[in-house]
């Protein structure tokens, strides 16, 4: 279903935006593949046919042909093979699927892949530079900030954003601004310690 394209598939995205502009309308129906490249609003393409979408994940562009209903989370996991982001509830109630979209933490299970086209998605797989772990990853290890590890990718993505948002100035702040990520093993105090540990290094840049 998926294949990786590193450079040029952005043109598909641009083309659609261009067509929309050229038609004098800002309505952009993303076309079903079988309906051909030029959308015709009157023809009402079968919405159950797969659509093309290009996602930029951890700096790489990926062209996918997927069901329009696919969320960013399912696109990552089932179509791109990046399974670090986890499904814990599929309804925005647990935070396990947290990724960064344009550098803001977001719930990938409630974000349509189509709506994320043209935006930068960062997942837990995109944090380490080779063998060098991101300071938050390192802090999670040192503070034993997980047990089963299932919520951990979401916690780490959320924690990085928490620091960058300026919400890591006190333990109370960290607790509140890390409350969108449920940890059933309840590693919470260690998560707070990890955020505290990593914050200065992250803010230093």
């Amino acid at each position: 279903m998926s294949d990786k394209t590193n450079s040029t598939t952005r043109s598909g995205f641009d083309r659609r935006m261009f067509l929309a502009g050229a038609a004098g309308s800002a309505v952009v129906p993303l076309t079903a593949r079988a309906a051909g490249p030029a959308p015709n609003a009157a023809a009402a393409p079968d919405p159950s046919l797969p659509v093309d979408v290009t996602l930029r994940v951890n700096g790489d562009s990926r062209l996918l042909t997927i069901d329009a209903r696919t969320t960013v989370l399912d696109a990552l996991r089932e179509h791109i093979g990046l399974t670090g982001s986890k499904k814990g509830c599929d309804h925005g109630q647990c935070g396990a699927c947290t990724v960064l979209i344009d550098d803001r933490r977001a719930i990938s299970c409630l974000t349509l892949a189509l709506a994320a086209e043209g935006r930068d998605i960062t997942t837990v797989e995109g944090l380490a530079k080779g063998d060098k772990l991101h300071p938050m990853q390192q802090a999670f290890i040192e503070q034993d900030a997980f047990q089963c590890g299932y919520c951990t990718p979401g916690q780490i993505m959320s924690a990085i954003a928490c620091v960058k948002e300026g919400h890591a100035n006190s333990e109370a702040d960290i607790r509140e601004y890390m409350s969108g990520n449920i940890c059933r093993c309840a590693a919470y105090p260690n998560i707070v310690a990890a955020v505290k540990q990593a914050a200065p290094e992250i803010l230093k840049g």
Binding site: S25, A26, R69, G92, A115, E176
Partner: protein
């Protein structure tokens, strides 16, 4: 989730045009076959549950470039409907001049969800009633008019005690709307025939005999902005809940006071978690104006605010809780340093 056609629009008229497809039928906006997608935290959620079944999803996020501004000019506040909850909550001017707005946003949902959810979408978020959200329950007048209400005699701890009807007791779950209704905000609505403005209090409809109709929006209309006149530095949002964060209110209160020389010249009280719609306690407010604050007054106001409340098996506690929350919020607002 049913299949849908996804459209991305880049200007408001295109959005209205795309949504207009749905205007032909008589459905309430929530049932319209074209739905606007902003943060998606309600729409995608309910589509996954098969509760909402649009055939066209109109992604209006690109409109954020024009519809997400936060303006505080000349003592009035204008909030673009596509501003994200987190951005508004973090705005120092809002925090200073409208703490009730900042706190109602800050205490809602989670940081991730607040990053996604927009103000306009937030005020339109739909009830958390299980019998509504789970389509395997046959009786829900909101989902299927005339089918009955499973919540009346069901597990209704989270349900409403104000503004209910025999057709529906589903709670309006939002926080921000309580701040808006308290501050007499105006809703700017953009539709086919241009822009219209209504008082926020006229946006939502209590369930009465037609709980499926939740707002006075016409199909195809979009909320484009909220405006608030005046500044309300002496205002609070107090939210009581089982856990400390990331939970809907059991009971909340938005309170704004204007105190001149120790006398309360203006007072606004709105209640969350208790009612089927954003809820303004106007009779209670009337008791305050012209008075000096004391705890006895707070108690009388709280009693008045909940005067018409009707409890059921699991939610009767909300009446007493609601009173204590109102009294506490009044106390906080009256004694806060500004």
């Amino acid at each position: 989730m049913r299949s849908f056609t996804y459209q991305r629009v880049t200007d408001p008229s295109a959005a209205i045009q795309a949504l207009a497809m749905a205007v032909a039928n008589n459905n309430p906006p929530t049932e319209a076959t074209a739905q606007p997608l902003a943060g998606g935290t309600t729409l995608i959620d309910l589509m996954k549950l098969d509760v909402m079944r649009p055939r066209t999803v109109v992604d209006i996020n690109p409109l954020a470039s024009t519809w997400s501004a936060i303006n505080l000019d000349g003592g009035n506040l204008r909030l673009g409907a596509l501003a994200r909850m987190s951005d508004v909550a973090a705005n120092p001017e809002i925090q200073r001049n409208y703490p009730v707005i900042a706190d109602s946003l800050r205490l809602a949902a989670s940081p991730q969800l607040r990053n996604m959810a927009t103000l306009g979408g937030n005020v339109l978020q739909r009830t958390r009633c299980t019998y509504f959200r789970d389509i395997s329950y046959a009786n829900c007048n909101k989902r299927d008019p005339g089918s009955g209400c499973a919540a009346l005699d069901g597990f209704n701890r989270m349900h409403a005690v104000l503004g209910t009807s025999e057709q529906c007791i589903a709670t309006y779950p939002g926080d921000f709307a309580q701040a808006l209704i308290a501050l007499d905000a105006t809703v700017e609505i953009t539709g086919k025939s241009g822009v219209r403005n209504i008082p926020f209090a006229q946006l939502h409809k209590p369930p009465d005999d037609s709980p499926q109709i939740e707002t006075t929006l016409a199909p195809g209309e979009l909320i484009s902005a909220f405006t608030v006149s005046g500044r309300w530095p002496r205002s609070v949002y107090l939210k009581a809940r089982d856990r400390q964060s990331y939970e809907f209110a059991l009971s909340s209160a938005a309170v704004a006071l204007d105190v001149q020389d120790g006398v309360i010249s203006d007072a606004r009280v709105a209640l969350g978690g208790l009612a089927t719609v954003p809820w303004r306690a106007r009779e209670a407010e009337a008791l305050i104006k012209g008075q000096k604050f004391d705890e006895a007054l707070a108690q009388r106001v709280a009693d008045a605010a909940l005067a018409g409340a009707q409890g059921r098996r699991h939610n009767a506690f909300k009446i007493a809780l609601g009173k204590r929350v109102v009294a506490r919020a009044l106390h906080q607002a009256a004694t806060m340093e500004i």
